[in-house]
């Protein structure tokens, strides 16, 4: 299941973009899952252009996503074969999908009220045990957060963002999504049940080493 580790300029490019993107997520006023959805769509669009990996259209998207200097990314980009470029871009899209989806699942485990969290944990457990599909889980959770059609209409912007966030799973292996749900919607919520305090932090600032 483990992917072959990246090396050399491919790894350098990957780390610059992913770390830059993670920092950008922290300061952006746009929710991480919406950001990830947006940049993955942009990457897909850039990749659809004929010969996209030969030019710098993709790099322009990576610059916007990571806030890393164009020339710094181009230095690594030039050293890669077309195949390596395709592979590293695919890994970057995966990393973006992981961070966006994780942040959304973590947000649910952090902010919803205890009753909703418990219901979500029950639904997530059904998915985790293979009793329902991912799409069914997404739809059931949506109905827990916005139980009435009226609420969905009123809060349509958040509902749309929720759907975009949850759709990031399509860029990830099924087993990874299952593990993610296991950690964030089951373990994180169960932890809050353990002490009955129902609190989780929403920020994890860098621990200086």
């Amino acid at each position: 299941m483990k992917l072959k580790p990246l090396t050399g300029p491919a790894l350098d490019l990957f780390e610059k973009v992913v770390m830059g993107y993670r920092d950008y997520m922290e300061y952006s006023s746009i929710p991480p899952w919406v950001l990830s959805h947006f940049f993955i769509e942009d990457l897909k669009q850039a990749l659809e252009e004929p010969g996209s990996l030969k030019g710098d259209a993709v790099v322009n998207v990576l610059v916007m996503a990571s806030h890393v200097d164009y020339s710094k990314l181009m230095t690594d980009w030039y050293k890669l074969s077309i195949e390596e470029r395709g592979m590293v871009v695919s890994r970057i899209a995966t990393a973006m999908a992981v961070m966006g989806l994780t942040s959304l699942l973590g947000s649910m485990a952090t902010y919803l009220d205890p009753r909703e969290k418990e219901e979500i944990m029950r639904v997530a457990t059904k998915y985790y045990e293979g009793k329902i599909s991912y799409d069914e889980m997404v739809s059931e959770i949506e109905n827990i957060i916005w139980p009435k059609e009226e609420e969905k209409n009123l809060d349509w912007n958040h509902v749309e963002n929720y759907r975009k966030g949850m759709s990031l799973a399509e860029y990830l292996p099924k087993e990874l999504v299952r593990k993610m749900v296991g950690v964030y919607l089951i373990k994180w919520i169960r932890l809050q049940q353990t002490d009955g305090l129902w609190v989780l932090p929403s920020v994890y600032p860098r621990f200086p080493e």
């Binding site: 973590g106 373990k187 002490d195």
Partner: protein, 209 residues
């Protein structure tokens, strides 16, 4: 393990302080674990003084910690018996300790270098399986994060903050500390090892705001 739920003014006070504290943590330039440590020490000092919880000195600390108006908190406070005040303060301290400790462990699970995360996972598993004590685990993780004497001297301030953060465990039941470690240092790191995904978001903004 689950405590009897709070109700009435005790619950109102608890919610105002804990929710306010959580929001302060998000916007503060001080690390969550340092904030928790600082406010808990202040609360404990008042609890042990001659004034203890009969007066409202502790409300000053709660107002500062939560950024909630003193008068708003006093309205609830005045309705509580001394026993109820002790209970609610005990729970607020528990919530602050929990938030600070989770944020510190989460930060380590997110930001430490991959090879260090794997060592930390091994150490945390030994603690979880009761092969070493909490203090031994804290000391071993400190050596993983700052392995050389030179680093320990150079980063003494970070080490001091790390020790303060880890000491928040004294305000929590052992079972809760074990559950926190299971989630943050075992499940979250193990999740990253799957598929070599060594990047997680550090922010989980409210999906409904």
């Amino acid at each position: 393990m689950i405590k009897e739920p709070l109700s009435g003014p005790a619950k109102d006070l608890y919610m105002k302080v804990v929710d306010g504290f959580k929001v302060s943590m998000e916007y503060s330039t001080v690390n969550p674990w340092d904030l928790s440590y600082m406010f808990i020490i202040d609360i404990r000092r008042i609890e042990m003084s001659s004034e203890d919880l009969k007066g409202d000195e502790v409300l000053d600390v709660l107002a500062r910690a939560s950024n909630v108006n003193y008068i708003e908190l006093k309205e609830d406070w005045d309705k509580l018996s001394i026993e109820e005040r002790k209970d609610v303060i005990h729970r607020i301290v528990g919530a602050m300790a929990s938030l600070g400790l989770m944020s510190a462990f989460g930060s380590i699970a997110i930001y430490a270098e991959p090879y260090k995360k794997e060592e930390i996972l091994r150490t945390a598993s030994k603690y979880y399986e009761r092969k070493i004590s909490y203090d031994e685990m804290v000391s071993e993780i400190e050596d993983v994060l700052w392995p050389t004497r030179r680093e320990k001297i150079r980063y003494w301030r970070f080490i001091e903050n790390y020790r303060k953060a880890m000491s928040l465990a004294v305000y929590l039941p052992e079972a809760v500390v074990r559950a926190i470690i299971d989630v943050y240092l075992i499940s979250m790191i193990r999740f990253q090892m799957f598929d070599n995904i060594y990047y997680l978001p550090s922010v989980y903004p409210n999906l409904l705001s």
